[in-house]
């Protein structure tokens, strides 16, 4: 008898995905919280760091610390090589083709602000339109609102349906010759929806409109190939990808980046400076003013090495089976309602309990060592859309287990008991 795909996947999982080994790579997972084992289900906020990343930070400051670029001494050259190697690791990780297209930033928010300020300042004018969706994080709403206000441009919003999927026909209706940019989230941080970004990009490109993809929740869950997507910008944060905070990436197509003015002025982003005129450095340095987060970049490279050693496809496969399992367990809890039931969904499950505020759920689960997030998740328009002030959210990472899901479900029953 033939085996179903799911059965084959679950066999592969057992053979290939050594969850205990992976868990042992993350030191924090073995620390207790309130005398209970830590069950960390807040990975969409930030992920934990494997030991190799932690060690890299320490090793850098002990062995390599120096400012990069232009230094002629040994340490500076070594640090520069490591930093630029990390850029190459990012390039391969998202399958970009040129190093000039990989810009180090502080994080997703910084990357979006860079595009809003630089691309926006040059290419958006009065009565132009920018399209976003109803499920955007505030960081993919507010920079565009600020820009629109300054330029007299308009922000258009693709509506979402009850399942938390964008209504594609509405997107097609919104797009026009006035549209100058589409900026859309890859995976919603509050609903878990995986957006059809490839189709969105194709549609936008048929009108000659560039597309920015907010990959803050994308790169850690799915294999991202910017060439295949053909996106014009792809942005993400290091700390949600098992790397350090304060480092992020802006990928942009070279031909667009070249036309964009610098975002910030300062050191490193110049070729020559006189009081009469400054010529800017070439890409990607044109957008990297000042001493960067050197170890952030290097350790992000180490995090990528770590993910590659496990293999992205396996992480995706494992997380997908865990998501299906969690959705199943949670939807069988009476009085629990899942917010966001899109067909294509990543490991993010938002829910509400009847008559119990998410904040109270979060506090009670914390007693059991379970870390979840409660609130509006920086997506207030999503909360308004579903008529809830807040949700409780679990978000999965590569190290979570089915046992942790079961343990959380049992703890949720306790929440009901307290409020019975």
């Amino acid at each position: 008898m033939y085996k179903t795909d799911n059965e084959i996947m679950s066999i592969n999982e057992k053979v290939d995905y050594d969850i205990q080994k992976i868990r042992s790579d993350f030191p924090i997972l073995s620390r207790p919280i309130h005398n209970k084992p830590l069950v960390y289900l807040d990975n969409a906020a930030t992920t934990h760091k494997p030991k190799c990343v932690i060690d890299k930070v320490s090793e850098y400051y002990s062995e390599l610390n120096s400012n990069i670029h232009r230094g002629v001494h040994y340490l500076s050259q070594k640090a520069t090589v490591e930093y630029e190697n990390a850029r190459e690791k990012v390039l391969r990780f998202i399958n970009a083709s040129k190093l000039s297209e990989i810009i180090f930033t502080k994080g997703t928010t910084d990357s979006i602000n860079l595009v809003a300020n630089s691309f926006g300042r040059k290419f958006i004018s009065k009565d132009d339109e920018i399209i976003i969706s109803h499920m955007e994080h505030h960081s993919n709403i507010v920079p565009w609102q600020i820009l629109c206000e300054e330029k007299g441009a308009k922000l258009k919003v693709i509506p979402i349906d009850d399942k938390g999927e964008i209504i594609y026909e509405e997107f097609e209706k919104l797009i026009s010759t006035k549209t100058k940019l589409v900026s859309i989230v890859h995976i919603s941080n509050s609903l878990g929806t995986i957006n059809p970004v490839k189709e969105i990009i194709e549609t936008a490109h048929s009108y000659g409109i560039p597309v920015l993809v907010d990959g803050a929740q994308g790169v850690q869950h799915l294999t991202v190939d910017v060439k295949e997507l053909d996106c014009d910008f792809y942005v993400f944060s290091g700390h949600k990808l098992y790397g350090p905070t304060g480092i992020g990436i802006l990928y942009g197509k070279q031909k667009i980046l070249e036309q964009m003015p610098p975002y910030q002025g300062g050191g490193d982003m110049i070729a020559s400076v006189t009081f009469e005129k400054t010529t800017y450095n070439s890409l990607p340095y044109k957008f990297e003013a000042g001493t960067p987060n050197i170890i952030g970049g290097i350790a992000l490279g180490t995090a990528i090495d770590y993910m590659n050693s496990v293999r992205m496809e396996k992480i995706s496969g494992y997380e997908n089976s865990l998501t299906v399992y969690a959705a199943n367990v949670f939807s069988n809890i009476e009085g629990l309602k899942i917010i966001g039931t899109s067909k294509n969904k990543a490991g993010i499950i938002s829910f509400v309990l009847e008559n119990i505020h998410p904040h109270d759920i979060g506090t009670i689960l914390d007693f059991d060592g379970i870390a979840i997030r409660t609130g509006h998740h920086c997506t207030q328009p999503v909360m308004q859309r579903y008529g809830v002030p807040a949700t409780a959210r679990i978000s999965l990472g590569m190290y979570n287990t089915k046992d942790e899901i079961d343990y959380t479900a049992a703890a949720l029953k306790k929440v009901f008991e307290v409020f019975a």
């Binding site: 309130h34 505020h357 109270d360 506090t363 007693f367 002030p389 807040a390 306790k414 409020f419």
Partner: protein, 151 residues
Amino acid sequence: MENEIRELYQQVILDHNKSPRNFKKLENANHFAEGYNPLCGDHIDIFIYTEGDVIKDVSFQGSGCAISKSSASLMTTMVKGKTITEAEEIFSKFQDLVTGKLKSEEEIEELGKLAIFQGVREFPARVKCASLAWHTLNSALKNDNKTIVTE
């Protein structure tokens, strides 16, 4: 662990959460303020009717977690009939209670029913939940008519 949960979510808190007192709009209110905690989306409207210096009637409406809702409910029962100065004094002591500044048992006991919120001091993230209603009351009494934001 169970005990710790019960210490925070005492029966009185759960009871006021389930059946909040004075949970309505006050038609003859002469003081009003709106409170909002952007962190968790808690939202509260406070209505007060005063005659001279005395809080004759007080009520609230809104949505929030068990801590914020029960705190608002208990607050209305505590300040009704009190003078504005007395209400302000209770507020000040309550603030000290939930932030852990009130140490002596005697002072805590003086707060009467409000003492049940002392468990909150162990949870810095929840202090604002307990004090939102009080901040809003304070603003309403001052007739600021401003939206109070706890962040």
